[in-house]
Symmetry: C2
Subunit: 382 residues, 2 copies
């Protein structure tokens, strides 16, 4: 049995103010082509199909079109769940109809843990859900963290699971120790929201979404496929791919990766302005990639962005090494610190301390954490 594992398409995403929809179309065209060649028994999409609960119409049209090609035209069964960026309710609309065509979309977590059977493999679909929602659904008041929630969910699945069959878990979670990058949204404000890898021991293969690097975790049976495209410069060195799994009846499998290569890469360039604008340098470059440029020059430069864009039209972000070093010195940060991704709560705490002479107490922290959690969901008021 052969299936392809992908996740984190994030259709409708803006990167540095630029809509990625065109490049997403390009990558998905490659993916459709790849599915046509590989002829898998199923395609697994492990959450974050969209970048936000109300995606732009272009993203809605793109997803509709691509799923139609895969499922209806190529007759490939699809197994998919909602991630933390999707609106479980909005994504679920129509899913009862899709099942007729072997398109299994689990948007909202329910208390039914029946697997989807495809060619002898059982797929357990667990869409992303907040610990509070899982606590309520399972009526289990011992659930507080994402780890607790996942443990309880896997416990329910295990009640019915036949360990002699090949069982695949499809979920959207942050496994402890996984490598993060800047384009993921923290699952839990003020905490990591991670779940222990040991929870997935009952499964032959665990197909995850959430972390954007295909190598986010090194584990024999737990895998992230990584995102469809690079969605931040912290991913500049990633090689984005999808995973092709061929599974035996006993649950053992082989895995290989196939790359997706959009026409515009996302890269970092560092150098002196004169160097970067020198023909002998830039004629060896793919100048129309999306670029983050770090200038090494010190002192004033007139309109560096304007000059750079004459050669590199898609510079998305410009930094100056000198400024950075200054800023860090002034703010008392070490360079190491700035590399770390700060949570919204950390940033707010820092801001609060700078602006007031007061303590950012646990009580205040909890109020702000609640506000942030509501805000990042971007849901419509109802």
């Amino acid at each position: 049995m052969k299936f392809i594992h992908t996740a984190d398409w994030h259709l409708g995403k803006l990167v540095h103010g630029v809509y990625m929809t065109g490049h997403q179309r390009e990558a998905l065209d490659q993916f459709v082509q790849l599915v046509e060649e590989e002829k898998p028994d199923a395609v697994v999409i492990a959450g974050d199909l969209y970048d936000r609960s109300v995606p732009p119409v272009e993203a809605v049209n793109l997803l509709d079109e691509m799923l139609f090609k895969l499922n209806v035209e190529l007759k490939t069964p699809i197994v998919s769940i909602a991630g933390n960026h999707d609106s479980a309710d909005r994504l679920s609309f129509g899913s009862s109809w899709y099942r007729h065509s072997h398109f299994y979309l689990s948007g909202k977590l329910t208390d039914s843990f029946k697997p989807v059977h495809i060619n002898g493999v059982n797929f357990y679909l667990v869409p992303y859900a907040e610990p509070g929602a899982v606590k309520e659904l399972l009526d289990d008041h011992s659930i507080h963290t994402h780890h607790d929630a996942m443990k309880a969910l896997v416990g329910r699945i295990e009640e019915e699971l036949n360990p002699k069959e090949p069982n695949v878990f499809v979920g959207h979670a942050f496994v402890t120790g996984g490598e993060t990058c800047e384009s993921e949204r923290l699952l839990s404000v003020g905490a990591s929201g991670s779940v222990g890898a040991e929870l997935f021991a009952p499964f032959s293969y665990t197909a995850l979404g959430h972390l954007h690097s295909p190598n986010a975790i090194r584990h024999e049976t737990i895998k992230y496929s990584g995102s469809l495209l690079k969605y931040s410069f912290s991913e500049a060195k990633h090689r984005k791919s999808v995973s092709i799994i061929e599974m035996e009846d006993n649950g053992t499998f082989t895995i290989r990766e196939r790359n997706l290569t959009p026409s515009k890469d996302m890269r970092e360039l560092e150098g002196y302005l004169d160097e970067l604008l020198d023909t002998s340098f830039y004629e060896k470059q793919k100048c129309d990639d999306y670029l983050k440029v770090t200038l090494l020059d010190e002192g004033a430069i007139l309109d560096p962005m304007g000059k750079l864009r004459q050669v590199y039209p898609y510079v998305m972000h410009l930094e100056r090494k000198a400024d950075l070093a200054d800023q860090r010195r002034n703010q008392g940060f070490s360079i190491g610190d700035s590399q770390k991704k700060k949570s919204e709560l950390d940033l707010f705490e820092q801001f609060y301390k700078e602006m007031t002479a007061q303590d950012f107490t646990d009580e205040k922290k909890s109020v702000v954490a609640g506000v942030i959690e509501t805000a990042v969901k971007e849901e419509m008021p109802v």
Copy 2:
């Protein structure tokens, strides 16, 4: 052949700040029951399933649930189009899958005018579209108004239509002479956006959405089903219903209406405060209806809303006859004027003239009309 004609569900609508979703569920439960009894060959929903392009998740869940009951559980074919309140793109998502279950949803206008055949009847689905979009789609630069657009669309349909068969047009439009009410949105800023009834002559029956009164037009073959519920006090005297059409092979038909009666009605009450609060009066009333109250008292009254709500908990709107007469006198309006629905553009013009000493020229009018047209679409920026 028997089909039921309904339209203008407006799921997710707020009336005077109150979400109608609960009452919409109640009315749709009655509708499902009615379909179960009538066992029609099809249900026709002529647009405005939602009240806005991005409806609240409760509305999304409600529509999904009700369509599933009708189409999958009761196995009733559904023929539906997008109205001016729906987002054609968002509503269309998944429609390619729905067709397998005989759920025909036409969200986006295309240049294919093939009908849906159900039990010997041809249904021509024409979702709502702006004249500009029709002009582009048909590459016909003579199209300027809604009438032009509809004429061109019907023209295309007529090229293929067999007049000897029963042909049903399903559309969302304002037929000239139709009776409007306050909960409809004008189709064209600064103009009526109406289309002539004569255009629909080729059809045995024209199932329309847009106007909210079931008696919006008196015509032998052109019908509005009216909205699911009363959505404004201007509809207080409407009796909301769906139409049941039994059509012969030659296109002749009989029509009857079946009412939908939600537990809370929307009514108007007029009287002196003491009268309305008198037990002998209110014990004959259904006090928990949604009410618009007009008080006849003159002079100051302390907290009339508070007093009224002790007896009538769902007063949505309170007016005082004396204030109204005063306002009208001061603003130089006649009572007749105030009864008429003013368009956003008219209101803006009035405001502009009050605020400035300048003329509201045609050029200014056209700019503001454009802004209003964009704003009322409520679409996300992309």
